[in-house]
Each structure stands twice: as structure tokens, then as C-alpha cells.
């Protein structure tokens, strides 16, 4: 900013130019203090930090994939950005609103440099936002269940959005010096960027918004996400700086540095905007295809207690949690199933990108269990159910059509070892009920429970674990026979039978 006025100061004026630059910094420091203590910004940071605390305590059920956690830091800064837009706008308008423009016009620091100071005054807020983003992400990364890799470019999006919004506030004050302009623009931003309603639907234009979220519950390996995050960060930085330079330019500083700054940053923004709109590369599409169709070629396998766990490299640490579930379920089975070697394979459908939530077909291979990429919360009883179903029916494909008494055994194996089995039953069922017929979720196709099976399972879960476990072991062969009815299972396990016969219509 030092050469705002004179592009090539002669030696005699160099000291004066340096003095001018120092004045801009001193003014920026003053304005930064005012901005940080303005009511909208304080309120926004209180809400933002509160939101981080409230959200991160329970986000991702304690098992974040960091390549998703980085994106989840982007929504909060929008709020801060709006507040900064308002406050920076009012700060620039201050001297006009209170009639000091005339006095200040004859002071040494000219208008262009004052605008430059207003832009520089945004940096502490941006840094504070970056601090909050880093804090939120570090918190996720420090969770014991965290896996994967975050992307620095995704983390930059939030702070850069704040910079962009603040610069827009400054520019707006110079273009349209009325105090109602900024609130009205905020409503438009709210509508377009936050509510994200009508526009930005094409793949190219979608990325013009500062924050592009992907609603998805299934994390992908970081190299398959395919978000142009770095280009987007370049686009945001270019746009923010371009708006900032424009604000200085329209304030009367027509120096070469400013014009060059506008041109250069515009070029950056356009480069970013074009590059981010490129869509998925053929290599990425091929990689997604491979990970979906032939995951075994991409995965790392580990042996744990006689079973084999194959995961995408980033998920290898999580095989320990899967093994715990497998061991707990297997310990409740009869001796025939005790030594069964399971293959737990992680499977995803990455072909439609990170926003898609596609169903995964059940594995047909005997003793293979599918596990997804998310973990924690309901994903645990769902996986547990899949393990139990494979141990009882032989394979996922076989368990899919199961409509007999074996369902009771499956559900009992899946739930009885958990902390609160009845609650786990509620969570694993689609309609969150503990009575009546319902769909039971699993990593692949769901299973169904009839009303009678539900009643029997509930009665079993209310019994002491050891007593039922002994009976299960004793009658294992009959309990896992495809011909067993629910009534017979109830009888074997010593609880009241179902009101109706099995029927899975």
C-alpha cells in the first residue's frame, strides 16, 4: 500500500512515503480495534464460538473423518462474515454519517489510504476466525476416534469468506454511501449463500458461492472427494483481494500499484473460478470406480483375533473398534460359530461423489461382513447386526431374505452386549420404535423384524445376559437353522412366544 499515491517516489520523498505507509498501519490498528469491539462482530463471535463448542462436542458421533471435519468448519464463518460486512461498512461510513469527512479531507492521510486501512483492519478478524477454525478442527482431530486427513484449503475457506465479506462491506460503503445498503446486501447474501436456494445449481456456478457444502453422511477417502478446494481458496482469496483493491481504487488512489493489484487479483479470482469449475477428472472418476467395484485392490488388511479386517488406508486405525464389536458378538455364539473366520470389508459407493448417499448391495461371499466409512452412534448397532446376521445366516446376501426365528437370535446377538440394549434396539430400527414390525438398518440392505420377533427380542433383552447366553450356546444349531420359527426360538430361550406366526409380507 506504500505507493498508493506516487508510483515512483524520488529519493527525497521516500521517507514521506514510508511515513504514509506507517500512518496506514496505525490507522488500520485503530480501526481493527473498533471493528473487533463493534456490537455485531462481538455478537457474531459469541454465537460462533458457542456454536463450535455445542456442535463439536457431539459432531460425527465422536468418530470424525477429518476430510469431512475440515468442511464442517465453513458454515460458522458465514455468520461472522455477515457481521463483519455490516461493521466494516458502518466504519467506512462513520465519517460521512457524523460529518467529519470535511475535516478529515484536509488531513495528511488521503481517502484512498484511509480505505486501505479499513481493508487492513479486517485482518485481525480474519485471523481470529482462522483461530476459531483451527480450534474447531484441532478439537476434531484430537478426538480418539478421528481418522483421515484434513485439507488446509478447505480450512482456509472460512477465514477467506470473512475477508471477502468484509472487503465487500468496505467497497459498498465507497460505492453506495448510505447505511441501508449493507443490511440489504446482507439479506441477499443470506438468501443466496446461506439458504442456498435458487441459483448456483450447475457444477460450475455452484462453486462461485463462498461456501459449498455437501450434504452427506458417508465419508469418502480423501483422494476420492474431488472437491477443488485449493482452486476455490484461490478464487476466494483473489476475489477478496480484488474487491479490496477496487475499494481503494474507487476511493481515489489511482496509483499504478492499485491498478496492478486490481488486475492481478482479478486474474487470480478468474483463474480459480475457471479451474474449480472443471468438474471431476477422468483419473478421479476411474479411482472412484475402482474403490467402489474392486475395493480389495485399494485396501489394507489386518488380522485381529482370527478375523481379517480390510479397510481403506485412512481407516486402518478404526479396525480395532470393528474387531471389538466382532469379538463381542462372536463370544455370545455357539461353539460352531466361535472359530468362524470373518472377513470384514469396508465398502463404499464413491461413483457419485461425496454428496451422494447410495445403497451398497449385500456381499454374497460367505463370512464376509460389510462396514461403512462412518462410525459411532447408530453405526455401531447397525454393524453389530450385520456381524450377527452373517454369523447366523452365513452371508449378508443370505441374511437379507431371512424371515424366521433366526431374526430373534440375530438381534439378540447384535444388541445384548451393548450398554443399553433396548435403546440400541430403538436406534437400529428405522422408525425408532421398540414394538411392532419395523425395518432394521445395517451397512448394506436392511432387515425386517415382525411384531412377534420384536416382542420376543425385547423380552430377551430384559433378561440377564448370562442366562440367555447359556441357552443360545446350548441350542445354537437349532437357533440358526433356517426352518426355526419365532415361537420355537422363544420356547428354546425360555420367554413368552409371539402373538402371531411369522409373516414378512
Amino acid at each position: 500500500m506504500s505507493a498508493v499515491l506516487s508510483p515512483a517516489p524520488p529519493a527525497a520523498d521516500r521517507a514521506a512515503a514510508a511515513g504514509g505507509a506507517r500512518a496506514v498501519l496505525a490507522l488500520a490498528r485503530f480501526e481493527a480495534r473498533k471493528l473487533l469491539s463493534s456490537a455485531p462482530v462481538v455478537l457474531a463471535f459469541v454465537v460462533y464460538i458457542g456454536w463450535i463448542g455445542w456442535r463439536t462436542r457431539q459432531s460425527f458421533a465422536g468418530y470424525p473423518a477429518l476430510q469431512d471435519a475440515d468442511r464442517s468448519t465453513q458454515a460458522g464463518p458465514l455468520l461472522v462474515g455477515m457481521a463483519v460486512l455490516l461493521s466494516a461498512n458502518l466504519a467506512v461510513l462513520r465519517s460521512r454519517r457524523h460529518g467529519t469527512e470535511d475535516q478529515f479531507a484536509v488531513l495528511v492521510v488521503p481517502r484512498g489510504r484511509r480505505t486501505a486501512a479499513h481493508v487492513l483492519a479486517l485482518l485481525p478478524v480474519v485471523l481470529l476466525t482462522a483461530g476459531c477454525v483451527t480450534g474447531q478442527f484441532t478439537w476434531e482431530a484430537l478426538k480418539p476416534g478421528a481418522i483421515g486427513h484434513g485439507s488446509p484449503a478447505e480450512l482456509l475457506a472460512g477465514p477467506l469468506t470473512v475477508l471477502l465479506f468484509g472487503a465487500v462491506g468496505v467497497l459498498l460503503a465507497r460505492l453506495l454511501p448510505v447505511p441501508s445498503a449493507a443490511p440489504l446486501l446482507s439479506v441477499c447474501f443470506l438468501f443466496v449463500f446461506v439458504l442456498g436456494a435458487f441459483s448456483f445449481q450447475g457444477e460450475g456456478t455452484r462453486w462461485l458461492a463462498p461456501v459449498v457444502s455437501e450434504a452427506s453422511t458417508t465419508p469418502l477417502p480423501s483422494d476420492l472427494i474431488g472437491r477443488p478446494a485449493a482452486w476455490h481458496a484461490l478464487y476466494l482469496a483473489g476475489a477478496a483481494l480484488c474487491v479490496a483493491f477496487l475499494a481503494v481504487l474507487v476511493s481515489g488512489a489511482r496509483g499504478l500499484t492499485v491498478k496492478a493489484g486490481v488486475a492481478l487479483t482479478l486474474a487470480l479470482a478468474v483463474t480459480g473460478a475457471v479451474a474449480q469449475a472443471g468438474g471431476d477428472s477422468p483419473a478421479l472418476t476411474a479411482a472412484r470406480e475402482r474403490a467402489t467395484v474392486t475395493p480389495e485392490k485399494e485396501q489394507t488388511c489386518v488380522e485381529r483375533a482370527g478375523s481379517r479386517y480390510c479397510a481403506f488406508p485412512e481407516w486402518v486405525p478404526r479396525t480395532a473398534q470393528w474387531a471389538t464389536v466382532v469379538d463381542r458378538v462372536r463370544s455370545l455364539t455357539g461353539p460352531a460359530a466361535h472359530d468362524r473366520q470373518l472377513l470384514v470389508r469396508q465398502r463404499i459407493d464413491a461413483r457419485y461423489g461425496p454428496a451422494a448417499d447410495s445403497a451398497i448391495p449385500p456381499a454374497t461371499r460367505r463370512d464376509q461382513v460389510t462396514v461403512g466409512t462412518a462410525w459411532g452412534g447408530n453405526r455401531v448397532p447397525e454393524f453389530s447386526t450385520a456381524v450377527a446376521a452373517v454369523l447366523v445366516a452365513g452371508s449378508e446376501a443370505a441374511s437379507d431374505t431371512m424371515c424366521d426365528g433366526r431374526m430373534v437370535t440375530v438381534m439378540w446377538l447384535s444388541l445384548s452386549w451393548q450398554d443399553d440394549p433396548v435403546d440400541a434396539l430403538r436406534r437400529v430400527r428405522l422408525d425408532d420404535s421398540v414394538s411392532g414390525a419395523a425395518i432394521v438398518l445395517s451397512p448394506t440392505d436392511p432387515l425386517t423384524m415382525t411384531e412377534g420377533q420384536t416382542d420376543v427380542v425385547r423380552r430377551l433383552l430384559q433378561r440377564p445376559l448370562a442366562g440367555v447366553a447359556a441357552k443360545v450356546r446350548a441350542h445354537w444349531a437349532e437357533l440358526t437353522s433356517p426352518k426355526v420359527t419365532t415361537a420355537r426360538v422363544a420356547e428354546l430361550l425360555g420367554v413368552a412366544g409371539p402373538g402371531k406366526a411369522d409373516s414378512c409380507a
Binding site: P40, R97, P179, S180, A181, V187, A197, S199, Q201
Partner: protein
Amino acid sequence: MRVTWASLLPVLRTLPWPTLTAAGGVGLLLAAVPRLADGTAAAGPALDLLRCVALTGGLGLAFLLDDPARHTTAAVPVRRLARQALRAALVAPPVALWWAAAVLLVPAEIRPPVGDVTLEAAAVGLLALAGAAAGVRLTDRPRPGPGVAAGLLAAAVLAPLLLPERWALFVPADDDRWAAAHDRWALLLAAAVAAWGLYGRERLGRRR
């Protein structure tokens, strides 16, 4: 009453027309988005859209009581509430027309229930006016508008985030809570009117 009629024209000229026009223009521009954007639009966004339009209207109204001559007119015999009500009455017909235009701009097949959304808009507008009246009463500034607008905007952004489930106001149109939420909106409208009545009165010295 005669005084009110006589002051009609002068007041008409002192209203912050540029701000009101700008707010109205932005609102209509927003309302026109579904017609401008090609492709199919959904009903959910249309509701958000009309809420944003109502918010622009509210932001415009937040500046309605800004009066640079406030300290000069403070001592006239016409009561402050009457002066404020006159200002509101003068903008009411154009605002009503504007809202009707905004609602009509949203295609009929995705338009949310008009009566209920109008209730929301009216509550937002009255809240803005009550805020402006509070700004006049509680501060000595001739132009409390920017602060009121910032407050209204903050409320609009934070209310959907922070309101507990029991007091939810911003519910989708197909939600079970729609009717209950609009009872709350009506309550909010009444509260705004009451607050305006309260803050529109001038402070009297305490009597012994």
C-alpha cells in the same frame, strides 16, 4: 386532526424515500428470482424467499423514523406517537402494494400460504417500527435507523439458530408446527404493536 392533515405533505417529503425505495427494489428483485432463474423451483426455497423479502421490507422500515430534524420537532404539540403513526400510515399503502407484488411474483404453484406469510411479514415490519420507536425513545440520536436495522438483521439470522423448539417461528410450510408457529407470529405482531405504543410515547418527568 386538522394538524395531522396539514402536516401530511411535509411529512411525506421528509420520509426516507431513497432508503425505502432501495429496500423495496431489492425485495422485488429477490422475489423475482424464481421467475428469472430457469428450471424448477421448490416450495421450500419460495418460503425462504418471501421471508427474505419481508426482511428487506423490515430493514427499510427500520429507517422510517429517522428524522434529521428530530431535535427541532421534538417540542411541537402534536404527540410523538401521532407523528410516528402518520409516517407509518403514509407508507402503509405503498408497502401493501409492494408486498402484494412480491407475493404475486412468486409463481403460484410454489407460493406458500399467503395469509400466514403475510402475517410473518407484518410482524417483521411492526417489529422494525417498534425497534425504531425504541431507538428514538431510548437514545438521543436523530437517526437510529442503522442500529435498528443491524438489530433486526441479527434477530433474523440468530432466531432460527437459537430459538428453542417450543418457540420455533421459522418452520417449513408442510410442517405440523405451522399453525402453532403462526399463533406465535400473531403474538409477536401484537407484542410489536404494544411495544411501539409504549416506546412511541414521550418521556414525562416523574410526578411527585
